[in-house]
């Protein structure tokens, strides 16, 4: 409107020129009736919301920091000793008469081996399920599968363990092996990885699939060579996060993996220790100083392992990410 009132020059509208027209008296400095400054009520609401959100954040942070602090302050000391990583608990006597800390190698190796076996079984199933659901799933059967994945992610870990126990021991009368724990963990890992892979596949733009189809590439090859590579970093990250999640699982191990103080590297023989079962075993004598140290040490190791795998996942995700 000011342009009409005082044209500053031929062809230049007033709002684009530096010259201010003298009769521009609208409140708010020429913004055409828009008041400057925030409205009070909105500013107040904004402050209240900000305080609430930060408050909630700090409340959520309290238990996290507390747990980390307790575990690290009590568990870091045994973990930092090289014996902790190199020795198992063989030769450990009754807690009150044994003052040698020894190591957690048997439990660390056990946790890693069982976790690895779990991932080897669970990841292919989960990724293929996710591919089916995203790329092929429009049938009623796919909806049932998707629903089943939801149900599976809600299964309490002890129920998964009981199921494996029922099949393995009650039905087939087999001796429990370390791999049985992996099977129970597999049931917990599959839904997690399926969901994360599904999310990643959905992020791949349809245009890429169409571009591939338009070149006369069959669907299966499109999925294998175009879609999966485009979201590989996300799939790997999801898999590692799922692994980190099941490595801390305790209930299936309590039921299926009896603790041993010796190192066992064979998933198909004998019993195998894991960090959670080591914690459980030593916690029975928590009032003895040496056992207490082992408990906190094992807890600290578990947190460090999970943290390490998480970091590894993020790192791989970062470096395999498709650059745009």
């Amino acid at each position: 409107m000011t342009a009409e009132a005082a044209p500053p020059g031929p062809g230049i509208p007033a709002k684009y020129s530096d010259a201010h027209s003298g009769d521009d008296t609208s409140p708010g400095g020429g913004l055409g009736g828009i008041d400057h400054g925030k409205s009070r009520a909105r500013a107040l609401k904004n402050s209240i919301a900000t305080v609430l959100i930060w408050g909630a954040f700090f409340i959520a942070l309290i238990p996290l920091v507390w747990i980390l602090w307790t575990v690290l302050s009590k568990g870091l000391q045994p973990v930092l000793h090289v014996n902790w990583w190199e020795k198992d608990q063989s030769g450990a006597g009754a807690p009150a008469f044994d003052h040698n800390l020894r190591g957690a190698r048997h439990a660390i190796v056990g946790t890693l081996l069982m976790g690895l076996a779990t991932a080897v079984i669970a990841v292919p199933i989960a990724v293929l399920t996710a591919i089916y659901l995203v790329e092929y799933g429009s049938s009623p059967f796919a909806r049932i599968v998707s629903f089943m994945v939801d149900i599976m992610s809600g299964i309490p870990s002890i129920v998964a363990a009981l199921f494996v126990y029922a099949v393995w021991v009650t039905t087939f009368h087999w001796t429990l092996l370390p791999i049985a724990s992996s099977l129970a963990l597999t049931m917990l890992m599959i839904p997690v990885v399926t969901r994360s892979t599904e999310e990643m596949l959905k992020l791949v733009p349809n245009e890429l699939r169409e571009a591939s189809y338009a070149l006369g590439v069959p669907k299966w090859k499109t999925i294998l060579r175009i879609v999966l590579p485009s979201c590989l970093s996300g799939v790997i990250t999801g898999g590692l996060l799922g692994l980190a999640r099941v490595m801390g699982e305790t209930a299936p191990l309590l039921l299926l993996a009896s603790y041993t103080q010796y190192l066992n590297q064979n998933l198909f023989h004998g019993s195998m220790a894991a960090l959670p079962t080591m914690i459980n075993d030593q916690a029975l004598n928590i009032n003895v100083h040496i056992a207490e140290q082992r408990v906190w040490g094992a807890a600290c190791t578990l947190i460090l392992l999970v943290l390490g795998i998480n970091l590894l996942g993020r790192l791989i995700g970062h470096f395999t990410k498709v650059k745009r």
């Binding site: 733009p205 245009e207 169409e210 571009a211 338009a214 070149l215 590439v217 590579p229 498709v322 745009r324």
Partner: protein
């Protein structure tokens, strides 16, 4: 290269919904045909039936006949994947494969269909990029990611990728709608050049573009939302823009509606 397309009484459905009704037309070999019409009139849908891309959408199906020279694209024995090797497509938004280099993007169709010979592939990279007027701009960075190019270059990369599999027909679905005027001009020049080899069908919302690049123009319209789209008329581009025989066409190209 370049084959004739003959469409007879084609109806396109998505599920129970009829999207396009009763289209018959002939597209001459080695010519450019432009499809114009308002949004939702089914021109893109119809375009996709020419290489059976509509079947990618669940429920997409057709009634009628599409002949490529004397082959029926919808015959029982015809594999849609094979159709798409013969009838290539360029999309509205440039969509190079983000995981691949410029070189791999160009020969993606060949590699994914089993061509392994490095010499053949290298030759094809240069040939296709030259064909798409992109060679001079990218010849020094063939191993860089294709997604690093500008929008217009990406679209020409997609055209190079499409012509690398040596199709007979090239379908272009609003190939310039996401590009700036200079890139648009580059694509239009390219279309004029490519018609010496390929039969080209281009969907566009830009009427000047249709007038500039096409030999024939087809005008699509729909009576109302929810009704199927129809082919109103198809004629020489000159004729359509200067002296259309239908009033709806005249209204549309002169900017008057309803």
């Amino acid at each position: 290269m370049g084959k004739r397309i003959d469409v007879k009484d084609l109806n396109v459905f998505y599920g129970d919904f009829m999207a396009v009704e009763g289209v018959s037309m002939t597209v001459e070999p080695r010519s450019v045909t432009a499809f114009i019409g308002p949004s939702g009139c089914g021109k893109s849908t119809f375009l996709r039936t020419l290489n059976r891309m509509h079947e990618v959408t669940p429920g997409g199906r057709v009634e009628g006949k599409v002949m490529l020279d004397d082959e029926d694209l919808y015959a029982e024995s015809v594999d849609p994947v094979a159709v798409r090797r013969t009838v290539g497509m360029v999309f509205q938004r440039p969509n190079p494969f983000p995981t691949m280099s410029i070189r791999d993007n160009v020969i993606a169709g060949l590699k994914l269909n089993g061509v392994r010979n490095k010499k053949v592939l290298d030759q094809k990279v240069e040939e296709s990029l030259v064909g798409a007027n992109l060679w001079n701009e990218v010849k020094d960075r063939l191993n860089k990611p294709g997604a690093g190019l500008s929008g217009g270059q990406q679209q020409r990369l997609c055209i190079a990728r499409a012509i690398a599999v040596e199709p007979q027909v090239l379908l272009m679905d609003e190939p310039c709608s996401a590009l700036d005027p200079i890139s648009t001009l580059a694509i239009e020049d390219l279309v004029t050049k490519l018609k010496e080899q390929f039969t080209i069908v281009i969907v566009t919302h830009n009427m000047q573009q249709a007038a500039r690049v096409s030999d024939k123009t087809a005008f699509f319209n729909l009576e109302a939302t929810g009704k199927p789209g129809n082919l109103i008329e198809m004629d020489d581009t000159q004729q359509i823009f200067n002296n259309p025989s239908k009033k709806a066409t005249e209204d549309y190209i002169s900017g008057r509606f309803g």
